[in-house]
Symmetry: C2
Subunit: 410 residues, 2 copies
């Protein structure tokens, strides 16, 4: 089965929002064994939408439309789909009651805009949207499936995962596509390519490798299609070899984020951590606490954005600040000592750097960052030179610090 995604919305074409919906749909379909072969984004314009559907159905047998089903006046997808199938919108009592119940559960009275959601094309199969007022709508014609979902991400996710995919799995059986992604941190892409060149050249010819860089990370994707059991074994075997070449760089697989690797490691060991952050401004803390259950391993953070706070809250010596500056080995190591004492955790991370774009000097250009990790027995620290761009520097400092802590604990 080949799928295409049609994303509808001027807001995407003018760059107001990023189309993250297609990525989610791509992931979920792929896991099921359905390839997405094209994604097309068109404007909120009837003719453009009609054209996109008729072209997509020439190439694919599953067409998913997202966007344009919300309650406000700029949404036109529903009417357009009805026209495409020479259909008309009819009142659907089940949808009406569903919307009414949903809103009353949130203490909201139904208004006219919400009522309109209860009109759906007469030939569509409604896939109920438990999380919102715009229903999912499924059409079948000439052995092709068309599915329309609202564009609000959490509603779309629900409709794809809990409604569309179960429906497809019941109706069809799928070939396997295997993807395994190796998450690495600390080695830039072109150098990684050189280091693992021999391994790459010796990969079985069915396995395709892709490099996917992100700030501070490189993801290596191994892909293959065919006999699932055999492929998984082959890929796992190759990853074992890779682990011997770059053991410190590999922190996880597939969707795993580096904060999850650290979280899982601490949880397994029954240990806790805290952070003292200057240039990362709470970003490491925010990453860790984005994880449900993080309170088991995480106690807290001091963001010390001024020297005064470094001194008064974290106990960094005024002498060290004066002699070496806030971005120095001495200061990050004293930040570790201070935060361990304050938060009473087993491990801590401290970061101080020049995120930029201003504040750089000849000796310490923008991007200069000191990272320390430690426990009561030992502190290690590293100096890194990241780039010019503030938010990339913050991101790179955060993932680098987390990987240093991960290797420190191990």
């Amino acid at each position: 089965m080949k799928a295409e995604i049609i994303t509808i919305g001027d807001e995407i074409l003018i760059g107001q929002i990023v189309d993250s919906n297609s990525a989610y749909i791509g992931q979920e379909l792929n896991k099921t064994g359905i390839s997405v072969t094209q994604i097309t984004t068109v404007s909120d314009d009837k003719h453009k939408i009609l054209k996109a559907i008729s072209e997509a159905e020439k190439r694919a047998n599953l067409i998913i439309l997202t966007g344009g089903l919300g309650p406000t006046k700029d949404d036109i997808t529903k009417k357009t789909i009805a026209e495409y199938f020479n259909d008309e919108l009819i009142f659907n009592k089940d949808v009406y009651n569903h919307v009414k119940n949903l809103l009353s559960g949130r203490g909201i009275t139904m208004n006219e805009l919400n009522s309109k959601q209860a009109y759906v094309p007469s030939t569509c199969k409604v896939l109920f949207n438990d999380l919102g007022t715009a229903p999912g709508m499924l059409f079948e014609k000439n052995n092709k499936i068309y599915f329309s979902t609202p564009g609000v991400p959490f509603e779309m996710k629900f409709l794809i995962k809990e409604r569309l995919i179960p429906y497809l799995k019941e109706k069809f059986t799928f070939d396997s596509i295997i993807h395994k992604v190796v998450m690495t941190q600390g080695i830039p892409e072109s150098h990684l390519a050189t280091i693992i060149e021999d391994w790459e050249n010796n990969l079985p010819k069915d396995i395709k490798l892709a490099y996917l860089p992100q700030p501070g990370l490189v993801r290596l994707r191994l892909s293959a299609q065919g006999d699932k059991e055999k492929l998984i074994k082959q890929i796992d075997n190759e990853i074992d070899k890779l682990n011997k070449i770059i053991p410190e760089a590999i922190f996880g697989y597939d969707e795993e984020k580096i904060e999850f690797s650290v979280f899982n490691l601490l949880k397994k060991e029954g240990k806790t951590m805290s952070t003292a952050e200057s240039c990362t401004g709470g970003n490491i803390s925010a990453l860790i606490t984005s994880i449900s259950g993080s309170s088991e391993i995480f106690k807290g953070t001091v963001v010390s954005y001024s020297n005064e706070i470094k001194e008064n809250v974290l106990g960094v010596k005024i002498k060290s600040l004066e002699k070496y500056g806030a971005v120095s080995q001495q200061v990050v190591e004293e930040m570790i000592t201070g935060i361990l004492k304050l938060m009473k955790t087993d491990y801590a991370i401290a970061v101080s750097g020049i995120a930029g774009p201003t504040g750089g000097t000849k000796d310490k250009p923008v991007g200069t960052t000191w990272i320390a990790v430690g426990s009561k027995d030992k502190i290690i620290s590293e100096k890194h030179l990241f780039g010019e761009e503030r938010n990339r520097n913050i991101r790179r400092a955060s993932v680098t610090a987390l990987n240093i802590l991960r290797n420190f604990i191990k």
Copy 2:
């Protein structure tokens, strides 16, 4: 001039990465007066790329290709474009020297993969990529322009903004498209639509309105095409009217983030702030410190992820924690008092809530969040009930807290 973007990469189709490049390109072209009419994502496959280019050139006169120009082996775009134009790759000494200098500046020796970047199609105009090794390549044929950029976001941004757009502006003059976005916080989409219904219905007919919701925010986009001066006046006039209807909700315009509104306000007043965060885990601090120059107005944060830290570092009374629980008015107000004392700032934000998915009770379900803001003279606090999803709750709590502080300062 109509533009189409072709994004190349299996990683987008399988949902490994989100196509944020197209959003950036859409924004920049729009500002210039060029409409993006379609975005197409295809796989790293020669035939798919060739097909996408030949279809796009039927509809548009500017075709931008992103992705597939990096140094590693899975990149094939360059060869494909050469084939499309019946061209061959030739060694370009300028590109070679540029790549060599760029790498040596980073202390990296040129390897074979990097050298390959110096081969470009013979008929292309090279647009130098100051930030990376893969060049931008521009082709002109039958009054149409084709531009290929690497997919690494910061390199692509440089090539679009500093290379392609100046090139286009020199060659063509453009019609104006005006977009103005009103950023609102605190009123859900469907209720906002009801509150501003009269205003919306009385908009001049050339002005198009779109609702763009995000967690905790709704952006209202007003768009029009035509006489720039006149439209700007008309739109500003409509926004003035809107400001009288929802004054507390509007925190800014266009790309402005709520943290910038708060930053600008504090900077103007010469005041400082700090945060005491529980469920938001440092996210508010990370938002503020993502702004260059934030150290002028921001001193620091305590993330108190355990009651122990609330008590020992922030001075929250153990009695209040026991009697009212960590998620209570008393506790967030005491957090304000504590953080103001510790950080010696003019203003502070404190947040304590149940981000979920676990930890909810009947009285305090997941999503329950207490937010306080204050100064030495006054503390105000609000209880909010957000949703079920952890990261949405963190995001909504953060933007809500920032808007409460903004209105508090005003």
